[in-house]
Symmetry: C2
Subunit: 300 residues, 2 copies
Amino acid sequence: MFNKITIIGLGLIGSSIARAIKKNRLCKSLVAHDKSKIVLKKILKLKITNHTEPNLKKSVQDSDLVIICTPLGTYKNIVSVIKNYLKKTCILTDVGSAKIFVTNTVNKLINKNTIWIPAHPVAGTEQSGPEAGFADLFKNRWCIITPVSKKNPNALKKLNNFWKKIGSKVQHMSAEHHDKVMAITSHIPHLIAYNIVGTAANLEQDTKSEVIKYSASGFRDFTRIASSDPTMWRDIALNNRKQILHMLEKFNLDLSNLKRALIKRDGNKLFKLFSKTRKIRQAIVKAGQDINSPNFGRKN
Amino acid sequence: MFNKITIIGLGLIGSSIARAIKKNRLCKSLVAHDKSKIVLKKILKLKITNHTEPNLKKSVQDSDLVIICTPLGTYKNIVSVIKNYLKKTCILTDVGSAKIFVTNTVNKLINKNTIWIPAHPVAGTEQSGPEAGFADLFKNRWCIITPVSKKNPNALKKLNNFWKKIGSKVQHMSAEHHDKVMAITSHIPHLIAYNIVGTAANLEQDTKSEVIKYSASGFRDFTRIASSDPTMWRDIALNNRKQILHMLEKFNLDLSNLKRALIKRDGNKLFKLFSKTRKIRQAIVKAGQDINSPNFGRKN
């Protein structure tokens, strides 16, 4: 499909893409670059690829597809370094979670003729690092592509096919729309989970150990999300600020409403609030985005 | 262990206790009472017990242990009806999630010599109804007992042993302390999950269907908790109001703090907030309250 692919950043997502490329034989040569030599050593040890390149410039030379899989805060430096080393037909893409920021940042830096197509595979786990990745991470998950130009329909088609071969379903949309939808489906849930687990972490020591002891009553689900990579989430929060603050405003209004019902002992209102949410879960299970087993099928 | 046990309310918890009693042979006769005849029919069909009694008064007669497993809003009526039909040596207990309310309500109604020991098995799933129960629900989970009197050490011992035989670990604490700990480990997470899923449900139709489509990015975890039984949660919210509002205040303060960091683009502060929460999850996994598999071991 491609002759040479370069992956920059071999964490959970980058190493999962690398594994999926290898599994599905999507290129002849797969180059891994990471600023951490320890990560590159791990990649060789895990046999994810046998071609690692610690020099960023060299890693992208002659590549047909370059995928940036690093936190958003690193994009500016990375693109500044590689922009003159990409060959004319190379597709430059990424996996970042805040597309307006990504698009603007990269647009400003790249040369006029660079084929640049931002993308975001909507998949992941709370774990991070190259050991956490797996080839099937993207199977039956959506990959959102936010094309910036219509100039290169063939390149877009190639990137679509790449994600489909990895197991994803592909959807195109604008960066603006992407950021709005992700604010509510991903960014707000993460911030809220970090916040509530943070509130628990601030409690005095005695209560904190009891929070751990009795966490199975609901709290433990929030801790899964709140153990995601802090660097990645700092950068997402900073770079989708506008939409996050907008959705947080809606969330806060609803919470004030719920609080008012509680203060007024308005049982009917609470019942209504607690009833309408079941339908959303049923629709998610029906859409194949979650399983129906109680407690996500956990045995404990 | 007991000659006759009566369970009032055969939903997720009540039917799970009944199944566990049967599995562990903890009594000679097990009586199921539910105000719904449909539920009682299901209980017979599922062979959870073959002794159902639609008359509440009759159901508790000659019983050695009566367990109330209904929403908190029903306690007043139930106890008023049964209080004169409990035999002298009978232990009256419950499984409610708000112990100050439960203790006060029942204390006011029961006869002076009734042996009343409130309890709360910290276990459950998002599903409800008699079909959703299973015998191992309480295995390795905590059961919190909040004794109201020291007058009947033998009865307390008997109730302890009952929960231990069902697979639980038992902890005694005051109703006040219970309500404080549950506010943060269970009640606030449920309210927040209901609230955020509610915010999503309020979005215009287009965005709502995309929220479902891309829910795997974090949102779907919140929908599990937000599909719990609305009657049960209305009653918990109303009856642990004080502690819930107190903890909600802390949560709101922390959220304002997070929002301020976001507005000020304070990356360091965000990073610190997002870093301290990982330790809590590690401690929960270490305490055997959750599994370490990514995405709770879900395959999709």
